[in-house]
């Protein structure tokens, strides 16, 4: 097991390193970082001064090697834009995104899995159709639209929830629903399909023939097997939520890491973008690893493979 973990860890570092190198190169191709830093009002002389000041006149590989060397020690440098250490800047923003991501995926799982199970139990029933409608609506509706509709109803009309900001838990209710609803359809449909598949299998028929209760059949025999691909999907969705909650963070002015990444790319704030890419890719890798472990626990056959 230790060998397995070490092997995965080595791969994780390799993947993160590759991702960061590619993104580093792409950032340099996307435009002159000195011009972006200098801003719209700067003259040519300002841009040249900044180019020398930040060392953009040196070869890209040298700049990357320097950055990587410091990043390994946890020093991500100073944000060009905010003039603050990137590590503390990200720590502050990441907490918002983490709360949002965990709440979002919890909301998705807590609504999608039961709905998927119920829909599979009664295929083509009213509840099945309603669940499929919800799923289609969730995928078709842009997040910013849904967010604004919630704001109109709950902030403006009813006055129950704050429209934006991060001052307390009520601020996270609507963003959680929007983000969670975005991930929900895929999870629900996968649960439903998995359950339908499993429920028609021989061993379920056998279990029923042996007189097992319907609850036991559903949860002990069917769901445990049907949920395996859902775990993998949820891990990917969680990774997506951390990096891709840009729209939700923007609409609700949450100032999280996703929005920071988006804005930092536009500003060519290289140290911030690089650190965020590295951290997000690490999250993806960790979640994938955790989902593998969880799947191995759910399905003993996977342990031997």
């Amino acid at each position: 097991m230790l060998h397995f973990i070490l092997k995965r860890l080595f791969l994780a570092i390799l993947v993160a390193g590759t991702v960061s190198f590619i993104s580093f190169s792409l950032m340099f191709l996307s435009g002159d970082p000195a011009a972006a830093l200098a801003g719209e009002t700067a003259s040519g002389e300002d841009v040249e001064a900044i180019r020398v000041l930040y060392g953009f006149d040196r070869p890209m590989l040298v700049q990357y090697a320097e950055w990587l060397g410091a990043a390994v020690t946890g020093d991500f440098g100073e944000s060009y834009y905010f003039k603050l250490p990137v590590a503390s800047l990200i720590a502050e923003r990441l907490s918002v995104t983490m709360i949002l991501g965990v709440c979002g995926i919890s909301f998705s799982l807590l609504t999608a899995v039961p709905l998927g199970v119920i829909a599979a139990m009664r295929p083509n029933s009213l509840i099945d159709r309603a669940a499929l409608f919800l799923s289609v609506a969730g995928q078709a509706m842009p997040s910013f639209w849904f967010g604004l509709i919630l704001i109109v109803v709950f902030s403006i009309k009813l006055g129950w929830l704050p429209a934006s900001g991060t001052s307390g838990w009520p601020n996270f209710v609507m963003p959680t629903i929007v983000l969670g609803y975005y991930a929900m359809p895929a999870i629900m449909r996968l649960t439903r399909a998995g359950m339908l598949d499993v429920l028609s299998s021989d061993y379920i028929r056998t279990a029923r023939a042996k007189g097992a209760s319907e609850t036991r059949v559903l949860f002990k025999h069917a769901l445990r097997n049907a949920i395996i691909p859902v775990v993998s999907l949820a891990a990917v969705q969680m990774g997506f939520m951390l990096g891709g909650s840009i729209v939700v963070e923007s609409v609700f002015a949450l100032h999280g890491a996703g929005y920071l990444a988006w804005e930092s790319i536009g500003r060519n704030d290289l140290p911030t973008v690089q650190a965020l890419i590295l951290i997000f890719s690490m999250f993806y890798i960790v979640f994938t690893f955790l989902s593998d472990v969880l799947n191995a626990w759910l399905d003993p056959r996977m342990r031997s493979s």
């Binding site: 996307s30 435009g31 002159d32 970082p33 011009a35 972006a36 200098a38 801003g39 719209e40 009002t41 700067a42 003259s43 040519g44 002389e45 300002d46 841009v47 001064a49 000041l53 834009y81 905010f82 003039k83 603050l84 800047l89 842009p142 910013f144 639209w145 604004l148 704001i151 109109v152 902030s155 403006i156 009309k157 006055g159 704050p162 429209a163 934006s164 900001g165 991060t166 923007s250 609409v251 609700f252 002015a253 100032h255 929005y259 804005e263 536009g266 060519n268």
Partner: protein
């Protein structure tokens, strides 16, 4: 972007759904304001955004103040000033002024500030605002001289704008990052809370001196960063915001029709224009080397329609490579009426009877840029439309690889033609025409101390630029301010949100 059709439609839905629920925060004497953009650093020398300018004017003072209505220069931290020679300005400083931390203001502060910001090694973000100063010298506690590198008549204008006075003792210790987190100035408002990128709280400076900015009447200003304009409007309707600005024209129009808020519109110094590669940097064979092609471009575009249909408000058609109110920006120049037939004739004369195809670049206001390309297409100039990030386009521009581009320039709100025309026509990396005659005229205008000489030579340069049709100037921009009826506020053309002039109705 905020101007997209879909978002606008949604915003309109929000407007309709939200009608009738606003309430003001007059009771707590607080105006809640939204900024769209995250401010990198409150320290005014280390940001280059419009939001930074707004905070700079609220928290700090300059030696001089320009009345935004009359454009008259008045003493602020200085009570009097005079030119000793072409490169030396002497100031008598106001006595009895203290910074927000209690530090008294005197000549040492001016000397420290000027010497600090003028030193390139300290990395002030917008070098042009400060790099004309060489050093400062203390004559006595309340008399100081600023030495310029070269003759620079626009010095007074710059000293009335971006050059703020900082407390020497505090700044020496805190530096830009400390000043960014705990700003200290002499201005009408002091900063009581800073959460970088998210939130600023200002409180009226009770001990504010007798400045031409005026004493604030509203006690607290709470500024939050809310990137999405639709969310800003939702907050305005739900009562947690009192004032938003830079509202897109179509939304402002709808809000105005609802008669629930005050919608004020004011022009800004930002000018939109097309730059054509008259020098042939992008391609020695480029059609834009031919004056008839450049004139054709100028005749092809219906500027009046663009202004009335897209920009609206107080925007106006501009024919000069500078904003009309700027000193030296002579308006008596060649104007090219909208005449597509004439444009086609000129193109035919230039050897392009069937038109030609060109790359067309833009970096902001895609809707304006696309409308312009439609006019060009109509006379036969087919455009390969390329929308780029500002930094990427700027790089291409500096390398001279752009045949025609839609650009904008805001002159940092400096009311002097040098802030625009001299920026782009003095053979710098962004000069696409490289006309020696224009350069010579601008050199004289930029360094002469006699205002009449300056006016004469700016006029010559501007007239030649218009005659040669190096650019196709288009229009000036405007800003929409939307606020609750309880607030009294009149915006100014320099696009500075002035909290000191806000009142409760």
């Amino acid at each position: 972007m905020t101007g997209s059709f879909l978002k606008t439609t949604i915003a309109a839905t929000v407007l309709l759904a939200a009608a009738g629920s606003a309430s003001a925060d007059k009771a707590s004497d607080t105006v809640n304001v939204a900024f769209t953009k995250e401010l990198e650093n409150v320290d005014s020398y280390f940001n280059s955004s419009r939001e930074g300018v707004v905070l700079q004017r609220a928290v700090w003072d300059g030696l001089i103040y320009r009345d935004p209505d009359t454009n008259e220069y008045k003493g602020n931290l200085a009570t009097a000033w005079e030119w000793i020679d072409d490169t030396t300005l002497e100031f008598k400083l106001r006595e009895g002024v203290t910074f927000h931390n209690g530090e008294p203001f005197n000549a040492d502060d001016v000397v420290f500030t000027v010497n600090y910001v003028a030193d390139e090694a300290n990395g002030v973000k917008t070098q042009r605002n400060v790099n004309w100063m060489k050093s400062a010298e203390k004559i006595d506690d309340y008399t100081v001289r600023i030495h310029l590198k070269n003759a620079f008549p626009a010095a007074i204008e710059f000293l009335s704008g971006p050059v703020s006075m900082y407390p020497d003792e505090y700044y020496a210790e805190a530096g830009p990052s400390g000043m960014g987190l705990k700003p200290v100035g002499t201005g009408p408002y002091k900063v009581t809370e800073v959460v970088p990128g998210q939130h600023f709280v200002l409180e009226a400076n009770e001990a504010y001196h007798d400045s031409p900015k005026g004493k604030p009447t509203i006690k607290n200003i709470d500024i939050r960063t809310i990137p999405d304009v639709n969310t800003q409007m939702a907050e305005l309707f739900s009562g947690s915001l009192d004032l938003i600005w830079q509202v897109p024209a179509d939304l402002a129009e709808r809000l105005s029709a609802m008669e629930q808020f005050t919608v004020a519109n004011e022009s800004t110094m930002r000018v939109g224009y097309l730059v054509m590669d008259a020098a042939g940097r992008s391609d020695p064979e480029t059609p834009f080397k031919d004056i008839r092609v450049r004139q054709a471009v100028n005749h092809a575009i219906d500027r009046e329609t663009l202004v009335s249909a897209l920009l609206k408000g107080k925007s106006q058609v501009v024919w000069t490579p500078c904003f009309p109110s700027q000193f030296g920006c002579d308006q008596d120049v060649t104007q090219y009426d909208y005449n597509p037939e004439k444009a086609k004739e000129l193109l035919a004369e230039a050897g392009y009877p069937d038109g030609f195809t060109t790359d067309f670049y833009a970096y902001r206001n895609r809707d304006y840029a696309e409308a312009i390309t439609l006019y060009l297409n109509a006379v036969g100039i087919k455009t390969n439309f390329k929308m780029l990030q500002y930094s990427a386009l700027r790089e291409l521009n500096m390398k001279g690889e752009v045949p025609i581009t839609f650009q904008t320039w805001g002159s940092y709100s400096i009311n002097d033609a040098s802030a625009m025309v001299s920026q782009f026509f003095k053979h710098g990396a962004l000069d696409a025409s490289r006309d020696d005659v224009v350069l010579a005229d601008l050199d004289i205008a930029d360094s002469a101390t006699d205002p009449k000489v300056r006016e004469e030579y700016y006029s010559k340069a501007i007239k030649r630029i218009a005659d040669e049709a190096y650019w196709a100037p288009m229009f000036s921009y405007n800003t929409n301010y939307v606020f609750k009826d309880e607030i009294g506020y009149t915006p100014t053309p320099d696009e500075v949100l002035r909290f000191t002039t806000m009142t409760w109705n």
